[in-house]
């Protein structure tokens, strides 16, 4: 028997060990194999899209090839070429409902353009003009600057208190809707924020404020505005702003865990809309042709970064050929992409119920290199 003391002051007892019998080794191997098997069971192995194939097989293969290897669930896609629309899907079709995330901002921007046309506001309207209790720098923020993502407002909705902030953080980890505040709390938070430099910076908070401001100016709820001014006139019957998560389908995280549906509550104008590829193809074509309410929102108006210009919400990537005007979206359990080229009259829509980026879908109608000489002249707004 030997007792030793190691440098960590633990007393190690080195007793005469039993011989490591084959049975003991076997038990160890079995234990390790069981544990390894259980761990492999919880591994989200990359896989293709799941479920029954729908629509055009060639488009489906094209989308799968473009989006690459990830842990996927279901997909619906639409490719527009002039008046022709081709659908494809896996476990979903053109009538399957998805959360479209920030593609909602294109609707909010269209409502902004439409409200200008109706005379409810103008391009120079400030937040203080609609919310008279605001003062200081935040009251001077113009709705147009918000629509072009350069308002200086914070990127995310500020938490009104520590508890709400903690709940938001926990919501991100357990994959539930992190947007907890009401419309009133959203607008009240404007009094607490600092306005930064008016440089291009993507802001969910600002667009939520824009949408609720438009609703206030019109005397209606944001959901009603979307329905009355956009989806009903265009016949987009499966597109709506949900008022509660009850009964809604859900998506999955990038690693395959169920993600709760998002309604975004007061921040709905930043990303709450649910739609289908059928309805979004109507939206895409109407916007592309200039026929949609507020379609002028898609026209590029200012620089966003070295490769992109921005209209009202819509981005136009100038480093691609042909140039593509687009917006993407993402929620806890969904990703989306919608893009078009108005000169070539082509467009692509991809919706998935997995939180894996589908931005690569822009490659289906536009390639990565651009020739400045070939680029169409951009319309200045």
């Amino acid at each position: 028997m030997d007792i030793t003391t190691d440098s960590g002051h633990h007393v190690n007892q080195v007793v005469a060990k039993t011989q490591r019998s084959p049975r003991r080794r076997l038990v160890a191997v079995v234990a390790a194999a069981i544990v390894a098997a259980l761990l492999l069971l919880i591994t989200p192995f990359p896989r293709g899209f799941q479920g029954e194939a729908t629509g055009d097989a060639a488009l489906r293969r094209e989308v799968e090839s473009t989006l690459g290897s990830k842990h996927w669930h279901h997909m619906a896609a639409a490719k527009i070429n002039g008046d022709e629309v081709t659908w494809a899907g896996a476990g979903a079709d053109e009538n399957t409902e998805f959360e479209i995330g920030s593609i909602t901002k294109t609707f909010t921007a269209a409502l902004f353009a439409d409200a200008i046309e109706r005379g409810e506001i103008d391009e120079g309207t400030r937040l203080g003009d609609v919310w008279p209790d605001l003062d200081g720098d935040v009251a001077e923020v113009t709705l147009a600057s918000i629509a072009m993502q350069r308002s200086g407002l914070p990127a995310q909705v500020p938490a009104p208190d520590f508890i709400t902030g903690a709940r938001t953080m926990v919501a991100n980890y357990i994959h539930t809707d992190p947007y907890l505040g009401t419309k009133t709390e959203l607008i009240d938070s404007l009094s607490t924020v600092d306005v930064g430099d008016k440089k291009p910076e993507y802001s969910n908070f600002a667009f939520a404020v824009l949408g609720q401001t438009l609703a206030e100016a019109a005397g209606e709820s944001y959901g009603d505005l979307v329905r009355e001014r956009i989806t009903e006139p265009l016949g987009m019957h499966d597109t709506f702003v949900p008022s509660s998560p009850g009964g809604l389908t859900h998506g999955y995280t990038a690693s395959g865990l169920p993600a709760a549906p998002w309604t975004l509550h007061g921040a709905a104008p930043a990303g709450a809309i649910r739609s289908t590829t059928h309805d979004l193809s109507i939206w895409l074509q109407a916007t592309m042709r200039g026929k949609a309410p507020g379609a002028e929102a898609a026209h590029p108006r200012a620089e966003y970064d070295e490769n992109e210009r921005i209209g009202w919400a819509w981005l136009t990537t100038t480093s691609r050929s042909p140039h593509i005007t687009w917006h993407n979206g993402g929620t806890g359990g969904y990703r989306s992409f919608l893009g078009f080229n108005p000169d070539e009259r082509t467009g692509i829509i991809v919706l998935v119920d997995t939180a894996n980026s589908v931005d690569a879908a822009m490659g289906l109608i536009s390639s990565d290199s651009a020739s400045a000489a070939d680029a169409p002249a951009m319309k200045e707004g």
């Binding site: 028997m1 007892q13 990359p46 290897s69 980890y173």
Partner: protein
């Protein structure tokens, strides 16, 4: 996302190394605590990480860490019968309750009571073992709940 993946990968490497070295801890309590800590990390990474695709790198780090964890379990299971449940109590010989049945039966050895600083350290370690194991088990439970319960509540 890349930053999250890098941090998660670093945690997995640490966890894998920790799992492989688990058999070096002197008592079963400490070994279990070590394994539970590693399991907590694994489950937490499963909860938050984006694993990407076969053309990425993260999935391979994960799989390597899983194999390492399995190997760590093998090493622990191999030495388990030789380990006492807890550190020796001060002021006397090792109590029957603290020695595993195999160790008692196999060796027929006597353990001299540790004295002085060594005895104090052994007492401190013994007092830390139970809370450490409880905290480790609780951490696994919390992360496992976070993994499973939200999904069951989603209609």
């Amino acid at each position: 996302m890349l930053l999250t993946q890098i941090i998660c990968a670093a945690l997995m490497v640490w966890g894998a190394c920790s799992a492989i070295r688990s058999d070096r801890w002197p008592t079963r309590f400490q070994v279990l605590t070590r394994l539970l800590t590693t399991l907590t990390i694994i489950l937490f990474i499963r909860l938050i990480a984006d694993f990407g695709g076969w053309d990425g790198w993260f999935i391979y780090v994960w799989l390597a860490a899983m194999l390492a964890f399995g190997y760590g379990v093998f090493r622990v299971a191999d030495v388990w019968p030789d380990l006492p449940w807890r550190n020796s109590a001060p002021g006397g010989g090792t109590t029957d309750a603290s020695m595993s049945a195999d160790a008692k039966a196999s060796t027929g050895t006597e353990v001299n009571a540790p004295t002085g600083t060594v005895a104090k350290t052994a007492a401190t370690d013994r007092r830390r073992e139970t809370p450490g194991l409880v905290i480790g088990a609780f951490a696994v439970f919390v992360v496992a709940v976070a993994l499973v319960v939200p999904g069951t509540m989603i209609s």
